[in-house]
Amino acid sequence: MNAMHADSSFSRRALLKSGGALIVSFSLAGVAPAAAARGDVAGPPDPRAVDSWIAIHADNTATIYFGKIEMGQGNTTGMLQIAGEELGLDISQMTPVRGDTNVTPDQGATSSSTSIEYGGPAVRAAAAAARHAMLLLAAKKLSCQIGSLIVSKGVVSVDGEPGRSVSYGDLIGGKLLKAKVAGTAPLRPANQYTLVGTRVPRVDLPDKMAGKYVHMQHVRLPGMLHGRVVLPRGQRAYGAGAKPLAIDESSIKHISTARVVRKGDFVGVVAEQEWDAVKAAAQLKVTWAPTPALPAGDLYERMRAEKTHDTVVASRGDVETGFPKAIHVAGATYRCPYQGHMPFAPNCAVADVKSDSALVMSSTQDVYSARRFLADVLGMKPEQVRVQYHEGSGTFGRSCYGDAEQSAAILSQSVGRPVRVQFMRWDEHGWDQYGPAHLADVRAGIDADGNLVAYEYHGWQHGWTVTSTVYDISLQKPGVERASGSASITVNPMSTGSMYKVPNRKVVSHAVPMAGYLRGAALRSPLDLSFSFASEQTIDELAYAIKMDSLEFRRKNIGDKRWRGVLDAAAAAANWTPRTASSHSDADVVTGRGIGLGTHHVSYGAAVADIEVNRRTGNIVVKKIFAAMDVGLAVNPGLVENQIIGQAVQSVSRVLKEEVTFNKTGVTSLDWNSYPVLRFAEHPEVVPIVVQRMEEPSSGAGEEVMGATAAAVANAFFDATGSRLRQYPMTPERVRTALAGTRS
């Protein structure tokens, strides 16, 4: 690992660590007794008790409790592999239980690709402690030394004497283990792994395919009403809220069971029938207070002109003395749009709020954090609120689940019955916490031998909200903004040249205040597409400038073997042949191939893209992506491959098509027509490559090849046309503008 890797990833880790500290302080402050009357008492359960994580049943099966949740990434299967490996149980012998504030340990948010990297070791340690406790019991029962015992499928036997055996179920079935997770139990050595590192099929897929799986959208409670939120169509300038000046309840009086609920500035409706709630929300006449104009048409100019909070996030050598040594410098300004999470299923939540307790079910990424915000909204203590996670559709960061769960809670508290809230498509598209827009000035220079000598990146973007729209407007509080404290909010130094040996490098983050812009939050691989799009095009330009193969140029300037590893793996899979000049073809349809590197925080990503550009229509078709990731020990290479494929396709969608649009009043991209995403007929073939490193710790696998993919597509465009697009999405209009006049 190079120095930048080690020191620049600290900020998000520090946050995670502070989450860890919270766990400890909760546990000291009198938490639920581990596994005693599981579910009856507010959590989190003590993470130092093995019983908080694992219950072994009389039939020799086990329930594994963990705090990381399934969002389609397959981490349930990965977590069971880790638990089963240490416990000596088959996948089929284990049942997962996830995301319940009365039941599961607090493992923080399921975000930033941390499930396996940070969540995995906790599960591994608990499972190893459980195995050790079982072996102690078995040694006593079988009158032998613990070292002579082996475990298979939950049956402990004396090595070489299969007749002398006892099952976990017989040893402990149904009783508490009462063991501590001390971190001292021996862990299985990686070279003896039988489950970890293998392609166990996803445990959730059979039910999903059969239509038996319970998504959040399927959850119903007896006596439940249906609720909808009433918000202006398309979000307004951040900071102005959504203030109803007048509500004309007579506008929905023809819908007999519909009722309007108001709390602060929050407006919602409930009805007995779902269709009535849909109609009532659509037809309720509300006069909204005017809001300040959004920066429609001059977004990037406004961002640059703001008084920003500047942070040097990476600095080595001195760029001012470095650049004069360069024989060639490439530099440009890049513009990258707001993009949205836009989960395929708009968020949904069900709440049952009583006078002194509440049960809220939602697709939150963090049940314990959701509980704190819900308690504020309901005027309760967090311990009075139980939050249960149910999988919705892939969320890719903080979509509107907080809004949905808080809306359901407000409505249920108001009407005294359980309420189900389903966001409509325009609610979700219109009131997302969007991935912020980004403006970048990048320059880099090389010496006569093609060595990078200086690199400078300046990026402008605003931060993220901590609270949700419904929280802010129902409590009539100003939103809380996070503009620093995480390498995901500032310019990520990992994604901006860290992979290259550059003696003089400076990366500066210019934090724009969010007021007057759109609500921001983490969108999968936060801003890394933007960073890689800008940074890797700059690197590519230098290679072409000195007519050096762009793969060779990167090889020459990379010192780290793991970056070389993914680069070479992607290039080999693509059967890369040297290319030193872009196409000068005059044909209508031209082809190009590009390469790119990127990461999120820890893992390594590289991609090669093959594209076709129709010079006449401006349409780009991405034909094939070769994408390689090094995630250290890949617990399940099949899952990582699936993540690579998903990232590559989503990244192509984002770099070619996706852009949140708005006018001076509000957001105008409110459905799949106005916010187009990559469609079935347009999808590239993706060749995923997992660079398996059994000896390295596992790191994230859900985000790290998105930036590389976006960069590879952008570089392929230059290869195909000889022109560079410095703004995405790379729409037909932008392509035609870029190519206008380039034809001889």
Binding site: P346, F396, R425, G638
Partner: protein
């Protein structure tokens, strides 16, 4: 009036409680508690609510329930039966070959789009048992996926096609 409204879903008659203008989707999810069709956009743009109406893929989120009276509605739950009927199988398999193929290809991520993907692909294979890649891409183009599973969905459709034509031999 609504007392008289009856629909037939997966071979079973259902007396509809909701008003006749209610989209079919809400009747299936709230009254019949089916988990196949699910809400995605309410605008017929994404395909997550798709069902077959007399064998034709239909967006149930914008289809008034009254309009399917007298027609045969098939949801994901009813696909194995429909497949058995279409192919005159002696018994109903646990899963439609497409569902089996989706599992074998490990095609899903969150799995939310799969209802529509499976319904639309079953319509295709019933019409065209051996579709080309281009035919699959065209036929499936009205069904969105946010997780990026299109490639494996296509492989699953090709696998199901092979399984079905093998079965038919």
């Amino acid at each position: 009036m609504t007392d008289d409204l009856k629909i037939k879903v997966n071979g079973k008659d259902w007396s509809v409680a909701a008003s006749p203008d209610t989209p079919l989707l809400y009747v299936m999810t709230n009254e019949m508690e089916l988990r196949g069709p699910r809400f995605g956009c309410g605008l017929a743009q994404c395909g997550s609510c798709s069902v077959l109406v007399d064998g034709v893929e239909t967006r149930s989120c914008i289809t008034p329930v009254a309009s399917v009276a007298g027609k045969a509605v098939t949801t994901l739950e009813g696909l194995p039966s429909l497949y058995a009927e279409q192919n005159k199988l002696p018994q109903v398999p646990a899963l439609h070959p497409l569902q089996q193929a989706f599992i074998e290809q490990q095609a899903a991520h969150c799995g939310y789009c799969y209802n529509g993907m499976t319904i639309k692909a079953s319509e295709l294979l019933a019409q065209n048992p051996r579709p080309s890649e281009a035919e699959i891409r065209t036929h499936m183009n009205g069904h969105l996926c946010r997780c990026g599973t299109y490639g494996r969905v296509m492989k699953a459709i090709q696998l199901a096609s092979a399984m079905m034509t093998e079965n038919a031999r």
